[in-house]
Symmetry: C2
Subunit: 132 residues, 2 copies
């Protein structure tokens, strides 16, 4: 029996989606250029990945001169949520607070970020109170 086809974005697909999310609708050449320093890929390789993403319904394209300009359809927020759920399940025993703690340890937050997070946490504490 073979492996099952992946339900989530594959590594190559994710790499490309990331570019589209970050720099907005892009042509093949623009994606290649952005990826080049990190992962040098042939023009047609990226083209193929974009075609697959389009087949899967994650992106779209419009004509732009003789080229195609690709737009994301898959919402980044949704992708983030499913990624977070995966991480919680696989690495943090489904404990959001444990994950929060580890994040705090990992990324050194500057004072401004800490202040904003404390405010966000304070806001989180409020809406729990119903009525009055």
């Amino acid at each position: 029996m073979p492996r099952r086809p992946s339900t989530t974005l594959t590594e190559a697909e994710l790499r490309v989606m990331q570019v589209l999310w970050k720099q907005g609708p892009s042509t093949v050449a623009e994606v290649v250029e952005r990826l080049a320093p990190e992962v040098p890929l042939a023009y047609t390789t990226v083209l193929t990945t974009l075609r697959i993403l389009e087949e899967k319904g994650h992106i779209d394209h419009t004509k732009q001169g003789r080229a195609h300009r690709y737009h994301t359809l898959l919402d980044r927020g949704e992708a983030r949520r499913s990624a977070l759920r995966f991480m919680l399940d696989r690495f943090f025993d489904n404990s959001p607070s444990l994950m929060m703690v580890k994040l705090m340890e990992e990324g050194d937050l500057d004072l401004e970020e800490i202040r904003r997070l404390r405010e966000a946490l304070a806001r989180d504490e409020e809406p729990k109170v119903k009525g009055s």
Copy 2:
């Protein structure tokens, strides 16, 4: 040109590591049993994955009767860190605080957890001051 071999744990490998991390040193049968409800896999499939993990140096085994009992060598904390780094890069523009905010929105923290997190953040704010 072929695909590059993956540097991180693959999906199947991660699934097995997760079991070993959660329930401690286990035999093949124990791993299969734990995985069964979620993903029914043949005994030998899990055995193969364990062999690969051992070849890669991520786990170890000791004899137990006629069976092998597998132990993790790869530290879970280290795996968590590299997973977090990957997530930060791919989904959260390398902003830990952004990731934390999204995590707060997603995983509902209970009041007790929020309180502890606020304390932890408060402590994080202090050590920045050098001397006196």
